[in-house]
């Protein structure tokens, strides 16, 4: 131990709930120069299958490269991080192409927060759309319906014959940049808080 304790930069850690891909990505960023699937496994506690699958996608997507060639079957494949895109793990499919799906709810969530005030689902869908990625009105209204159940959005005006219902976002409930996830209509999970914020009540009579 040296007498002088040089301050070591602590690796950045994402806030809120961290799924296995996020943990794998953070482990890769910490070891960036040289890592193997086993090392990532011991750091992230993700399953080896998920790690190998994700590293393959990262290689195809150009984020990671192989740095040795295996000559014997018990050689470890070593990798290096070549394209770092920050704390958030790149969402890739098996071919290494970016997945756009999650961006829709993210845009809706961001738009509600920035615009404030009241909105209809149609206005929201329009404002959150971009030329490259249009958001369907139904996407917005289904998502808003779930956020109402979880208490993030309130209905301020009921629908009338002439006009659709109007909603308002509760700014004090803004928990962070990641949009709450809606799971199969039975729960809403907020990744910023790492908490299930709404769950469908069981109907015990039907069991």
């Amino acid at each position: 131990m040296s007498a002088t304790t040089a301050r070591k930069a602590k690796p950045m850690q994402s806030a809120g709930g961290r799924g296995s891909f996020q943990r794998i990505w953070e482990a890769i960023r910490t070891r960036r120069e040289d890592f193997t699937a086993f090392l990532i496994h011991s750091d992230s506690m993700a399953t080896l299958g998920a790690i190998q699958h994700y590293i393959n996608a990262l290689v195809k997507g150009g984020y990671v490269e192989r740095i040795n060639t295996r000559s014997k079957c018990n050689d470890q494949q070593h990798f290096r991080l070549i394209r770092d895109c920050g704390i958030e793990y790149p969402r890739l499919n098996a071919k290494g192409e970016p997945i756009q799906r999650d961006l829709c709810t993210e845009a809706l969530w961001r738009t509600m927060r920035i615009v404030g005030g009241e909105f209809t689902t149609r206005e929201l869908a329009v404002q959150a759309s971009t030329p490259e990625r249009a958001i369907a009105h139904t996407t917005a209204s289904v998502y808003i319906g779930q956020l109402i159940k979880a208490g993030y959005v309130v209905k301020v005006k009921a629908a009338s014959k002439k006009s659709p219902p109007r909603y308002r976002f509760e700014p004090q409930r803004y928990s962070g940049p990641r949009p709450p996830v809606v799971g199969r209509n039975t729960y809403v999970y907020d990744p910023n808080l790492d908490k299930v914020v709404w769950q469908e009540e069981m109907n015990h009579d039907d069991f």
Partner: protein, 245 residues
């Protein structure tokens, strides 16, 4: 899906202006400065344009508050990035710079007027830029450029100054298609609304809703200035003093 339903945001002039500047900012050559300042009076459609840009570029959006000090600002930016803030102000600054540089996502600071009056804040925002060489869009009120002029070292790093455009007759037509669907508005009424609004997109929209409501009651298919007569319109002016009390 018909065009009517997808393309319902009014492509008013402000949206294009900001989108072009943001593109210029993000794709700027090395060595060019990385700030853009977008300013204008309230109600001129700044927020609508900002949210459109933020959604396109997945920008980090932070709305500043008057009560914030330097550390709060950094913590709020990190919160917006989804990173746990740990350590002292320099540590937080490093984390922000690292994340901005790596992700290449721009940072939007709204209500930047609150920072412009404090030297420490201005220097901090400049530090964020110097550390990351990222793109920053600063949004504020009409007087923002004048306030920034005091800070010479900051002023020089602004790539473009972008004034919010006042609402035009062309914008009003596009807004009418959204707020007054299926009703024909004559140009003389539209230009009257534009004059009354003093440039504000918000006031034109409010008045278009008024016109729509009146048209539904009266059963009009088309409205012009004479049909409207001297019904009240929203001007945003404070009420006049009442007679002697």
């Amino acid at each position: 899906m018909s065009e009517q339903f997808v393309n319902r945001i009014a492509p008013i002039a402000n949206l294009d202006l900001v989108a072009v500047v943001m593109e210029k900012l993000v794709n700027r050559q090395d060595g060019l400065p990385g700030f853009a300042v977008y300013y204008g009076p309230s109600g001129w459609g700044k927020t609508t344009a900002t949210v459109a840009v933020a959604n396109r570029s997945r920008a980090y959006y932070v709305q500043m508050r008057s009560a914030w000090n330097r550390k709060t600002l950094l913590e709020k930016i990190l919160f917006e990035m989804g990173i746990k803030p740990t350590g002292t102000i320099p540590d937080l600054l490093d984390q922000i710079s690292e994340q901005l540089a790596a992700s290449r996502r721009p940072l939007i600071l709204d209500e930047f007027d609150y920072a412009a009056s404090k030297d420490g804040m201005i220097e901090l925002v400049r530090d964020i830029y110097e550390g990351s060489q990222s793109s920053l869009l600063l949004v504020g009120e009409e007087m923002l450029p004048n306030k920034l002029k005091r800070h010479e070292r900051f002023h020089g790093r602004v790539l473009s100054w972008l004034p919010a455009a006042p609402v035009s007759l062309d914008d009003a037509r596009k807004l009418a298609a959204i707020y007054c669907p299926d009703i024909t508005l004559a140009d003389d009424l539209l230009s009257h609304l534009v004059t009354l609004s003093h440039g504000s997109v918000r006031r034109v929209s409010v008045n278009l809703v008024n016109v729509y409501d009146a048209a539904l009651i009266e059963g009009w298919d088309q409205v012009d200035r004479s049909a409207w007569g001297d019904r009240p319109l929203y001007t945003g002016d404070a009420p006049k003093r009442r007679g002697s009390i």
